[in-house]
Symmetry: C2
Amino acid sequence: MRLKLRIAYDGTPFEGWQSQPSGNTVQDILEAATEKIQGLRSTIHGSGRTDAGVHASGQVVSFSTGSAFPLERLCVALNSELPDDLAIRESACVESSFSARFPAIERTYVYALFARPARAPLLTRHAYHVWLPIDLQRVRMAAAALLGERDFRSFCGLLPEGGVTVREVRRLRVERREDLIRIEISATGFLHRMVRTIVGTLVDCGTGRRAPDEMPAVLAARDRRAAGHTAPPHGLYLAGVRYDGFDSYAEPPIFRWG
Amino acid sequence: MRLKLRIAYDGTPFEGWQSQPSGNTVQDILEAATEKIQGLRSTIHGSGRTDAGVHASGQVVSFSTGSAFPLERLCVALNSELPDDLAIRESACVESSFSARFPAIERTYVYALFARPARAPLLTRHAYHVWLPIDLQRVRMAAAALLGERDFRSFCGLLPEGGVTVREVRRLRVERREDLIRIEISATGFLHRMVRTIVGTLVDCGTGRRAPDEMPAVLAARDRRAAGHTAPPHGLYLAGVRYDGFDSYAEPPIFRWG
């Protein structure tokens, strides 16, 4: 039986998605939970390898099992084995050919910024605090230059296997309500640290540290040093993954009210 | 010089407001920060003694100092000495007779509940998760019985000095948006654990564990055992304190968007 789960986590206490010797990753903790349920033990595949500290409101994972554990009780059973910072929101039985990682049509990340002089202690873990005022027009101007199919090598941390750094950014929306800024980025796939480097560079444009019309030159440089700073992980959310006939999107709670 | 500060904190890492031998309270950490600024060292008074784990978006504190530290730089100077979970949002110079604790006209607490079967990892630290469905009509019916000047002894943890347990609840509002429920309670003053015991009892009414029309009998019993469970601290926010000519109210971020 092949299972697909929609999961959410607060990235603060975890060392990212992917299994590590420490065992303190989302994948490790999920796999340990499956071991506690008779016959369910399995290797779990995630749709996106979130870095340490990055949150997820709509991550999708898949695994195979020979167990006949009743699907309708699977969420409750697994959640009772998981820490409070990690939860399964939905489980479904899928075709045996399905893998969370490969057939995704689109992934959407949401980044939370709050821009004001004073800290907001109650947002510390869930948004990136920028002390300087941010000019949204400048951010939007810079963002427009990053839409479409581009070579994002300048916005890439570790180069991917094969070295292909062309990706298609399908949506890049910037909205503000009071001092909270929401940046939504959708693409088929992302490079390592691509969203955080895009956000850091957009922030640099918004605060006046760099000019929004530099973006074409930054892309053309194909050099990480041409782009801006890497925004920290705690403002980033893997919000949704779209497959044929299924979309896991869930708005991060920081933006859900209203 | 007498100073009034409006502060906010995430209660998760602190052992409450009031000074303790451990030194890990909001008062201790604020006082330690004043010590680091030449001549500012002072005892700080808070408008409400929040329990361990309780948050504040609009706490007010006051202290006296002989220091001539320029007021316009005080927020920045103190914030640079404070941990991320605690921040000063505003400072003002006040009359020497002012104390944050005594002349408050009204205090407002906001409580965040989320009611749905599955956990929400990204709200874990900032709202109380209730697994059972909550019937808002039943909650409102029970809440109506608690409005006005009443003897709240049944909703009191430790009895106050003098033993007077009559308080006036001026507002008790219950709203829901999707799975998030906001309970706002305003009164001149509150008894120990009064808000959390009221919220716990309202939740018991909402989930069907007790009948909303029992509230008059619960009040009349003047016995803590007559009321419901104590809701946990992590859903509670000291949101505002109103003085003559000044209101520190700030909506907790979990409810601010939109």
